[in-house]
């Protein structure tokens, strides 16, 4: 195995292990076999490396099983007499079974030529795969640094090799794969470490990519049912219409750990911004605070428009349902239909039905969503919305909302904004509107806001009377809201997030809860979060910044009494947040003179 040795400038796990296996073997001439197996493994790894990303445990296990069986076959064929179960054979099997999608490559494909290099690269790539593959095989190596950037499997291999090496050769661990994550020896469950942010699926939530997607589907269904049952429309901030648009997979998005949206991740994918998202989503949250109701409308639009994954649609449908009760709107048309009809069927179908409108709707959504979340102020958005709406106006028949939501008044206030934002749109639908529905994007003005701006309410009333004369002031106010595309995705997940927390509430109550009380809980949560985000925005502005930073959150928690002179923010983070967030929030020194997160 001279090749492998020469190529191993930096000892990878596989090479180290190979060395151990090769050098310490007095019994059989494993070298030729190991070379072959390594080549085979390399080949197996390469195609499977891509597939390793974002694999759930179960899939990983399945794959590993398949891989293992195939590898074992190959291995046995190669080695022949590898029947005895020695630790060496076990380790070899582990190495072989590392590339889970080995089933792809039949044995005949094994090519020893590119073996050494392929081994190197394939190991790197495959190591990025989910850790779960290793789980069933590599039990002893439990202590792994959080694999934010380093591939999970690689780490595991390294541990194995280290274990061996420590006894045989005492080779140092290769530090480079660990990068940031190595220093903090987070030994918690392997599952956690491998939720790397690099995984495409878990772009939004690196730490929580593992959550099973099924959970969301169920919630959506129940949520839709709840929406149907309850006549009270919640007015979640209508921001993140965009999220449903952008986030295709249902699973990862919303539920997971909504409150702890990671500051490093792009905020748009982060599903649930209902909870305080101090980092970049903070600004949007602030905007959202103003238009808490808009997102509900936003998701409706979204719902009808793009064929988002069921969950996203579900969230939107909820939104729609909630708003539909109170605020029929052009978007509500779509949403109304969505809310009423597909609630049981599932949003996806609705979305598909509206695929044709999807593009236009998307434009509208974004416009509305932005408005909703951030008090749309840009006139371009309005035109966008109006155009989109106009095109769809003819298509969608406005359906009168069934039950008048409790938020008729707030909806009215919201609708004026929408109206202003989409004057033409409103006019187009004038006849179709039984009531003024808040535009999906229109920011839902809080009660304070409506109180301060009575013309909004007045406009709402006029809307109700089907005189679509949007107030100029509102349009002037709304454009800025549409400017921010980010908040849109928050609309849908926000609502879903509230539902999620309401369910948590009912769980901890330990006694059955009425639907009305759940609604009230959601309402209170809504107001609470809006207030929270308002405060965060004001704090950031007070410090002369436009971005909400952890310092602002610390000030807020200080005012809440959670952070005191005795209890610091880091202490709270350690106490209550899962491990991945801790490593994201609390600066820790890693090897190579690097501190993560950077200060």
């Amino acid at each position: 195995m001279a090749d492998s040795y020469s190529l191993d400038c930096e000892p990878t796990t596989r090479t180290l292990l190979r060395r151990v296996l090769d050098t310490a073997d007095p019994l059989t001439p494993r070298r030729p076999r190991s070379a072959r197996t390594s080549a085979q493994r390399a080949l197996l790894e390469t195609p499977s490396s891509k597939k390793l990303r974002s694999q759930t445990k179960m899939t990983a296990r399945r794959r590993s099983h398949k891989a293992r069986s195939i590898d074992r076959l190959a291995h046995i064929q190669a080695d022949g007499h590898l029947e005895e179960q020695t630790p060496r054979t076990l380790l070899k099997n582990i190495l072989l079974t590392a590339p889970e999608s080995s089933i792809v490559l039949p044995e005949s494909v094994v090519k020893p030529v590119p073996a050494p290099q392929v081994v190197q690269t394939s190991r790197r790539e495959s190591s990025r795969g989910s850790l779960e593959l290793q789980l069933p095989e590599v039990e002893p190596s439990t202590t792994l640094a959080p694999g934010l950037l380093a591939p999970g499997r690689r780490k595991q291999r390294l541990r194995l090799s280290v274990f061996q090496q420590g006894m045989d050769q005492g080779l140092p661990l290769s530090q480079e794969p660990y990068g940031n994550a190595d220093a903090s020896s987070i030994t918690s469950s392997l599952n956690l470490t491998f939720a790397t942010p690099l995984q495409p699926q878990s772009v939004k939530r690196p730490g929580l990519a593992r959550r099973p997607p099924t959970r969301r589907a169920v919630d959506v269904g129940t949520f839709l049912q709840d929406i149907q049952d309850t006549s009270l429309a919640l007015a979640p901030p209508g921001d993140s219409l965009r999220t449903p648009v952008t986030t295709l997979p249902t699973d990862t998005v919303l539920e997971d750990t909504q409150p702890f949206s990671q500051p490093l991740l792009g905020r748009s994918p982060s599903v649930q911004h209902s909870l305080p998202c101090p980092s970049h989503s903070g600004a949007k949250d602030v905007e959202r605070a103003v238009g808490h109701r808009t997102w509900s409308s936003g998701p409706r639009l979204q719902n009808s428009g793009p064929g988002k994954p069921a969950q996203l649609m579900a969230g939107k449908v909820e939104e729609v349902g909630a708003l539909a009760l109170g605020f029929p709107n052009t978007s509500s048309n779509i949403s109304g239909e969505d809310g009423v009809e597909p609630l049981q069927n599932g949003v996806g179908e609705e979305a598909e039905g509206r695929m044709k409108e999807g593009l236009s709707m998307r434009g509208v959504e974004e416009a509305t969503g932005a408005q909703g979340s951030a008090r749309a102020e840009e006139p371009e958005e309005h035109t966008e919305v109006t155009e989109a709406e106009g095109s769809q106006g003819a298509i969608e028949a406005k359906e009168p909302e069934g039950s008048s939501g409790d938020e008729d008044t707030p909806g009215r206030t919201a609708s004026p904004e929408l109206a202003s934002s989409t004057p033409e749109f409103l006019r187009a639908r004038r006849l179709q509107f039984p009531e003024p529905a808040p535009p999906p994007s229109t920011a839902v003005y809080t009660d304070d806001y409506s109180a301060e701006h009575p013309e909004v309410g007045w406009v709402g009333l006029t809307e109700i009377t089907l005189t679509s004369e949007p107030p100029e002031t509102l349009s002037a106010r709304l454009p800025p809201r549409t400017r921010i595309p980010g908040p849109r995705p928050r609309q849908d997940p926000y609502k879903t997030g509230l539902n999620h927390y309401a369910k948590l509430f009912s769980f901890y109550a330990k006694m059955p809860m009425e639907k009305k009380s759940l609604e009230m809980v959601e309402k209170c949560l809504d107001k609470y979060f809006q207030h929270l985000c308002d405060d965060l925005e004001v704090f950031a502005a007070h410090a002369g910044r436009k971005t909400v930073r952890p310092e602002d959150l610390e000030l807020l928690m200080r005012r809440q009494g959670l952070v005191t002179d005795q209890v610091s923010l880091h202490v709270l983070v350690e106490r209550h947040l899962p491990l991945e967030y801790r490593q994201l929030l609390i600066p820790c020194a890693f090897s190579g003179n690097s501190v993560f997160p950077a200060q």
Partner: protein, 139 residues
């Protein structure tokens, strides 16, 4: 000895607090009398005591918050911005404070303008000791 000193200090602080509380109580009582005569309602003693106690505690909170805000803005002096941040919850109060702030700012500007004018006049006189004296007096 140290404990005695600290005990004495504690006593002093405590008595100081009591005096402050008494002052607040007195002021609240006066205000309540005004309101009572205005609206023709009566205020019981317990009410006035409760209001004064609440006011005192709120003042403590305000002071802590103001200090936190100033520190958050990386300043060592409490500013009108901090006060405005504190009063943002109540819209009418915020408006009132903002107006007062503007009045004060304008007043300060006028005073500055007056001072500058005075300084110029005295410079025109161009008597150096007089100027120095004027400057000192202005300061």
């Amino acid at each position: 000895m140290m404990e005695e000193k600290e005990g004495a200090e504690e006593q002093q602080r405590f008595s100081y607090r009591q005096r402050l509380k008494a002052a607040v109580h007195y002021t609240v009582g006066c205000l309540c009398e005004e309101v009572a005569s205005d609206k023709e309602v009566q205020f019981s003693k317990q009410t006035i005591a409760a209001i004064s106690e609440v006011t005192f505690r709120q003042c403590e909170n305000f002071a802590r918050d103001l200090e936190m805000f100033a520190r958050h803005a990386k300043r060592s002096t409490i500013n009108t911005e901090d006060v405005k941040l504190l009063a943002r919850r109540s819209n009418s109060l915020l408006k009132y404070i903002t107006e007062r702030n503007e009045d004060i700012a304008q007043f300060n500007l006028e005073r500055k303008a007056k001072k500058k004018k005075k300084l110029e006049d005295e410079n025109k006189n161009s008597v150096e000791p007089a100027e120095a004296g004027a400057v000192e007096s202005e300061d």
